[in-house]
């Protein structure tokens, strides 16, 4: 499994996302409150660029009239037909058994280890003294 350096951390502040292509695959990486998540940027329904959609929360209801809204900013809603997926897992909420988006592990590594380790720099010139967002693929 190759690890790809995709950005210095300060280029991907909380609440933002970055779109890129890794090994021919369209990927989006999100920073949600300091945690990083990678998703395949293709909707399993009809193939829209899924990660262009808005980040919303999860509306659930135990009983009619009672609505719980959780996971704010952690659910991606497809820009076409609005299917919802959990950024953390790629799981769909309308048919979780059949549909999921491929999720890729993303995290931060210090520049020193990036320079040493089995990394491929995607779009980034790596400097030893900074931290980098890394995606495993």
């Amino acid at each position: 499994m190759a690890r790809h350096v995709i950005a210095p951390v300060d280029e991907l502040p909380p609440g933002t996302r970055k779109f890129l292509e890794i090994e021919g695959r369209p990927i989006a990486v999100f920073n949600i409150k300091g945690e990083y998540f990678g998703l395949m940027n293709r909707c399993p329904h009809q193939g829209a660029a899924l990660c262009e959609g808005p980040l919303i929360g999860l509306a659930q209801s135990k009983d009619p009239g009672e609505i719980e809204y959780t996971k704010l900013g952690e659910i991606i809603r497809c820009p076409w037909h609005g299917w919802e997926f959990d950024i953390r897992t790629g799981q769909s909420y309308c048919d979780p058994r059949r549909f999921r988006v491929k999720a890729y592990a993303a995290h931060v590594e210090p520049g020193a280890s990036v320079v040493k380790g089995p990394y491929v720099a995607e779009t980034v010139t790596v400097k030893v003294e900074s931290d980098y967002v890394v995606v495993e693929l």
Binding site: F19, H45, Q46, G47, A48, E52, P54
Partner: protein
Amino acid sequence: MNIQFRESPEAASTPTTKTAIADCDIHPARATRTELYPYLAKRWQHHLEVYGVHAYQGMMEGPPYPKAQPNASRRDAYPPEGGPQGSSLSFMQKQLLDPNNVQLGVLNPLNTGQGIRNHELSAALCSAINDWQIDKWTSKDKRLKASIVVGNEDGLSAAAEIRERAGDKNFVQVLLLSRNVEPLGQRRYWPIYQAAEEAGLPVGVHAFGFGGNPITPSGWPSYYIEEMVGHSQCQQSALASLVLEGVFERFPKLKMVMIEAGFGWAPSLAWRLDKVWQRLRSEVPHVKRPPSEYIREQVWWTTQPMEDPERREDLFDVIKWIGWDRLLFATDYPHWDYDEPSRVLPAGVSEDNREAFYLGNARKLYGMT
């Protein structure tokens, strides 16, 4: 949260389909509120500024229900130069026509001048929309063909508009909406059918419209999702009315296209109609044949929204009844319930049927062969 995240990603124009297709339901939009003014007499421009537009129902500032995505459209369909989704020819070419190899695209503008109480204004706006379709769209891209928009509630002025455009190769059908003041078979609409038949143009009935009646037969629902499925109920009553008022009998060469209301319900409606017609035909002696015969001979169906049953065989059974020669592929671009051409038809369809579905039927119906 109707906010937009990023405008017009390049990823949107990734090619997906290689075979040529027809797209029988494309919605062009106006970039600005006043874009039609060049096609409207000063008198109507002033009228709009002073009085605005009065439809048969309230809540005209927006559609009756907020739609699932901004402007009921794909979030990735904002043109890079600004303006609402569907308002830029160059972006439509880049996002829809080129990558999907669309050979024929039929334009169905919505929010035009249809269903407006002031019939003179309605006629003027419809005529302006038709001029605008030629200027902005069909004359600039030969793949695009327009629908003649008519002031539907005034059959006579609508017929006049059709006659004026008849023979103009920019136009391939007449456009009505499914929600009207009365069911579509009623006499006030007959001049439209007569003029369309004379002109050899099919009449498309697109879901939607502001007829002033509740948008479902059981009243105003709570949710947009009910409006969406309600389109098929509305289309069913429109079609029953067309059959039972004798429109198909009176205009035997008339071709109707049911647009954006599904088609899975067609067989059951026809079966029910046939059954009650056998028992009650003395009430409607002008309906000389079983209703299903008129429907099968004179009605075509666009595919978006396609029924999507769990077993694809169920879908094929329905299509078998309707006829593979009666379906017209449509994306509904740029609307949010858009169907992606390469993903919409399940496997297991013969080459001939696929070709008819994606292109052949449309070319024949719209006289492009």
